[in-house]
């Protein structure tokens, strides 16, 4: 998922950086200090999840967990993913500094799209089945959309879209399943032990 340096054209890099800046600005707008710890914990989870490699296909894929971040953090997933990716680039040379914008966009945008698409089920789903299915869909679709965005970024740089996107999506299919199960499991667990984390941003909390 991490696009390396020197692959994309400058135009794509700049556009990605600009959109990521906008996303991070939205995420940080009106940030409450009570939300900072959960952002940090999820950012750390994202940082570590990417080191879990799944050896499949011609490439090497890893967990992303962006669906879970979107589900819990909403727009605040943007800064959380940016921090995780910046550390990947600095410590492990995954991705790169110049591609940080594009990579953040490719992983954070699907998180937000999925939280809009499936968040209702997790927020309002009183029935276990709806809750589980929407959480699963949120986790797996985030990976799918990420894969398509990576393919699209490569396409904008001149690679043929269909083959590139096909490879990315096919390779990530097993990851989609794993992520869906993980996201559903996390959401179910959180609903039992800390439901306000799932609802925190949608339902008014008792004022502290």
């Amino acid at each position: 998922m991490h696009i390396s340096e020197g692959v994309l054209s400058p135009g794509v890099l700049i556009a990605g950086a600009a959109l990521t800046t906008a996303g991070v600005a939205v995420g940080l707008k009106g940030l409450d200090h009570e939300e900072i710890p959960s952002m940090g914990i999820l950012s750390a989870a994202f940082f570590v999840a990417s080191l879990v490699h799944v050896p499949i296909g011609p490439s090497s894929v890893h967990l992303i967990l962006n669906g879970l971040l979107g589900l819990i953090l909403g727009w605040k997933a943007f800064p959380a993913i940016l921090v995780g990716l910046a550390l990947h680039a600095l410590l492990f040379q995954f991705g790169g500094i110049t591609t940080l914008g594009v990579n953040t966009l490719n992983m954070a945008l699907p998180a937000i799209i999925c939280s809009y698409l499936f968040g209702w089920g997790v927020r309002t789903g009183t029935r276990q089945l709806i809750f589980t299915v929407t959480a699963f869909a949120c986790g797996s679709c985030a990976v799918l959309i990420s894969g398509m965005l990576v393919g699209f970024s490569l396409y904008l740089t001149g690679e043929a879209f269909l083959p590139a996107a096909k490879v990315v999506v096919a390779v990530h299919f097993p990851v989609m399943l794993i992520e869906g199960v993980l996201t559903a499991a996390c959401a179910l667990f959180l609903r039992r032990v800390k439901p306000e984390l799932l609802e925190g941003q949608y339902v008014a909390k008792p004022s502290s």
Binding site: H33, L87, A89, F92, Q93
Partner: protein
């Protein structure tokens, strides 16, 4: 609906700008660091007149069927090839110059390796010379030319160093270590601390 239910009241701008400034400073400091390797790695070495390359993903998986491009120092493409099932690709030295070997794996992964011209010997195969000279009936007094001695030494060094080169290639492939992972998580928690510091200071004002 997405808005925070109770946004912090009257945020003074100075604290927030402080955060922006600090992060911009970090960005400037870190962006000057050399970023030479990425998620795929290519490692190349010269043996005789052949260049061998090995390509791997950071998980330790071989990069199969990936494109390898070879450039000279002016950036002209000299040749192109594909890695085999073992992630390996070898080619005859096309010309005596600095070589830049670029690996392009799928999904936007890319890596490069440079071989300076000094590591490359002349194209004329010196090893064959060495062989013929060795097979010659040797009279009592051995007199080898400077050239032949050099070729002999090079040949045996190549053979002796091969395992070490392989070891080096493997060690380059080393994934993220535990200490780096813990360090990264520590960074994140540190950032949380900084953010909380500014957030609470903001609130107190």
């Amino acid at each position: 609906m997405w808005q925070n239910p109770h946004p912090s009241p009257n945020v003074p701008c100075s604290g927030r700008w402080m955060v922006y400034l600090v992060s911009a400073a970090f960005w400037l400091v870190f962006s000057t660091m050399p970023a030479w390797a990425h998620k795929v790695m290519i490692f190349a070495w010269v043996e005789g007149d052949t260049v061998y390359t090995q390509s791997k993903f950071s998980g330790g998986k071989k990069a199969k069927n990936a494109t390898v491009l070879v450039y000279d120092e002016e950036g002209h493409q000299l040749l192109e090839g594909k890695t085999d099932e073992q992630g390996e690709f070898s080619f005859k030295v096309p010309k005596k110059t600095d070589l830049k070997i670029v690996l392009k794996a799928s999904m936007g992964h890319m890596a490069e390796w440079k071989i300076p011209a000094e590591e490359i010997k002349g194209e004329a195969g010196p090893s064959t010379d060495a062989k013929t000279s060795r097979e010659l009936p040797v009279p009592g007094n051995v007199s080898l030319s400077r050239q032949e001695v050099k070729a002999l030494i090079d040949e045996s060094l190549d053979r002796k160093l091969a395992p070490i080169l392989n070891m080096l290639a493997d060690s380059l492939d080393r994934g993220p270590s535990v200490s780096e992972v813990i360090g990264g998580v520590g960074y994140i928690f540190g950032l949380v601390g900084v953010a909380l510091y500014f957030a609470t200071r903001r609130k107190r004002k």
